[in-house]
């Protein structure tokens, strides 16, 4: 970019280049530096993940040694065994998986259904309700904790699957995502379906939903992963150990077993691996979901 090239004959390379100029060399060096920085930062970024996984498969004798073992050998599953024996981890895993799946399905249905009328149909009050919802998005969740907690404990619903699953269906973010997406769908298809005397429910099921697959994918993936990693809600509304999820269970384990790092890392690995797999398989949707959310303005 704008660097003067000095014409100077040099030994020709196997690729047949005759004149390697100082400019080209400089560009090569710069590119190397760029890659070096990026790779270094990638290592920094991934270090916690790497450390988590390798610690979990180290034998307890070598875990605390300095200098630390970068590649665990021999591989031992002691930590996992300890964790399983001293905690309700399998139950936590089950809770996390079941609730995340249930919420994902529910939130897609509820919000896709609700978004369609706002996106494509006009009805009295739609403006008002929409602005109300938009303003609710600004409310920090912390404001809602106390009254919700009082309400839920008065209703005797603490420690129940109800309170863990049903509120998860209400997500203003997911609603807006569906609405934005559905607005871009061509109305001609809807009109055609109406001419064919299709019911509104039929239009939704046969026309809108199939066309909204990209939005469904993004909402489903973000919902699932978000719920998988949910912490505060479960902290608030569960008391007994067998109703916890992975996040809260492991956080409590950390305080009950102060320097038991191995089992802690084993638990973290168990929680992280499904998410990593989902991420690697569906990267595209993660990136899309993020940019769509930002570009909506």
């Amino acid at each position: 970019m704008g660097v003067q090239s000095i014409a100077r004959p040099v030994v020709s390379t196997p690729a047949g280049e005759r004149n390697a100029s100082a400019g080209t060399v400089l560009r090569g060096v710069l590119k190397g530096v760029v890659y070096a920085i990026l790779v270094l930062w990638a290592l920094v970024s991934l270090l916690p993940v790497y450390w988590m996984i390798t610690t979990s498969i180290k034998a307890s004798t070598v875990m605390l040694q300095i200098p630390p073992e970068w590649i665990p050998s021999p591989i031992s599953f002691d930590s996992y065994q300890t964790l399983f024996q001293h905690s309700d981890l399998p139950r936590w895993f089950l809770n996390t998986a079941v609730v995340s799946a249930a919420i994902t399905i529910g939130t897609v249905i509820v919000n896709a259904l609700a978004a369609y009328p706002f996106a494509k149909l006009r009805f009295p009050g739609d403006r008002t309700i929409f602005w109300l919802l938009l303003s609710l998005i600004m409310v920090p969740y912390v404001v809602v904790w106390v009254p919700l907690f009082i309400l839920v404990s008065n209703l005797g619903l603490l420690d129940s699957y109800w309170i863990l699953i049903v509120p998860g269906f209400a997500s203003v973010w997911n609603f807006f995502l569906f609405k934005q997406f559905m607005q871009t769908l061509p109305s001609t298809l809807i009109d055609a379906a109406r001419i064919d005397a299709c019911t509104e429910a039929g239009i939704f099921w046969k026309v809108i939903l199939p066309l909204s697959k990209p939005a469904v994918a993004v909402v489903a993936i973000f919902s699932f992963v978000g719920q998988w990693n949910s912490f505060f809600w479960w902290l608030l509304f569960t008391n007994s150990s067998d109703m916890r999820n992975l996040s809260v269970g492991l956080a409590q384990y950390r305080y009950q077993n102060l320097i038991d790092y191995g089992p802690l890392m084993a638990g973290a690995t168990i929680s992280a691996v499904p998410v990593i797999v989902i991420f690697l398989l569906f990267q595209r949707y993660f990136m899309e979901g993020l940019t769509v959310g930002a570009l909506k303005g």
């Binding site: 990026l38 300095i66 904790w145 106390v146 996040s247 638990g267 998410v275 991420f279 990136m287 930002a294």
Partner: protein
């Protein structure tokens, strides 16, 4: 083409053609029933779990809630609000939260921009590779990331002290050190949390028309000048988004504090949201906690508006 024929004589407008109330109702039902049915589940859920608690929280913040059997709920007016802002622990929390937010958001901004600027000219597969590397740790879950750092922070056997020892820096106590605990916590989002910004900036950079850069080249602009006069202004919308969402998020940091330090040592890491949690669920002062939550919400709204005013300028092409 149909022939124009004279139809029945023109009727007066009044009376005859107005539909009856029953007919109007029927038409209303036909046109809008499904819409209301479709939005009903969401509206009901939002009303119960977001709208109602919001109103209730507002009311509670003016009360002192009685918990035990013999305690009554009393109305205390603005006492909760006054007690909050005059409390030194809350003021410390405000300071900590503010520092945490400013540092992590600024670092996120700078790092994301810098990395995106480096990645953008590369091949598409290189871009995908690095994007994945930076964005993956974000989704492991804040708790798991915090737990790993908890292990890495261990003063005697943790890998962090080992690594800095390699370059001659003396061992730190990290989160156990009252003078360094907050800074240690800030390292976590800085080093493990900015993948999203890179993705957004890369996407935005892709949207900048090449013709602008070509015009700059004709004027023999340097790389720095291009960055400053073309790239940066056109990325302002993305910057605005990153800064505002980052601020809102960082201001409400909780998980890290709960898992790693519980506000200590010596209040070095109390944050506003963590304080609300303590007041509500360890001291059971629900009214006070509600007031604190509203003050926090107000601060966030003010901050967001200020940032919006400051950063949202019209970009001219």
């Amino acid at each position: 083409m149909a022939e124009r024929t004279v139809t029945a004589p023109v009727q007066p407008m009044l009376g005859k053609d107005s539909p009856s109330f029953g007919e109007k109702l029927e038409e209303f039902r036909e046109r809008y029933l499904w819409s209301y049915l479709f939005i009903a589940p969401m509206i009901i859920l939002i009303a119960i779990f977001l709208f109602y608690p919001l109103i209730d929280a507002f009311i509670i913040s003016f009360q002192k809630i009685g918990i035990a059997r013999d305690e009554v709920t009393q109305w205390v007016g603005v006492a909760n609000f006054v007690n909050t802002v005059t409390d030194s622990v809350w003021q410390r929390a405000l300071l900590n939260t503010f520092i945490f937010t400013v540092v992590t958001v600024a670092a996120d901004l700078v790092l994301s921009l810098f990395l995106s600027w480096l990645i953008f000219p590369l091949s598409s597969s290189a871009q995908s590779f690095f994007k994945a590397c930076y964005y993956l740790p974000v989704h492991i879950g804040g708790i798991m990331v915090a737990l790993v750092w908890y292990w890495m922070f261990d003063p005697t056997e943790g890998v962090l002290n080992y690594l800095i020892g390699l370059v001659g820096v003396p061992h730190q106590n990290w989160i156990a050190d009252p003078n360094f605990a907050l800074q240690s916590l800030m390292l976590i989002p800085i080093l493990s949390g900015h993948g999203g910004g890179v993705i957004l900036y890369l996407a935005a950079m892709g949207g900048i028309p090449k013709t602008l850069y070509e015009a700059a080249d004709i004027d023999a602009a340097s790389a720095w000048s291009k960055l400053k006069n073309v790239t940066w202004p056109l990325l302002k919308p993305t910057t605005l988004y990153v800064v505002i969402t980052g601020t809102i998020g960082s201001f409400q940091v909780f998980d890290l504090i709960y898992v790693l330090t519980r506000g200590g040592p010596d209040f070095a890491t109390v944050t506003l949201v963590y304080l609300v949690y303590q007041v509500a669920f360890e001291q059971y002062s629900f009214g006070l906690a509600s007031a604190q939550a509203f003050i926090l919400a107000a601060i966030i709204v003010v901050l967001s508006l200020a940032q919006f005013r400051f950063l949202a300028t019209d970009v001219e092409y």
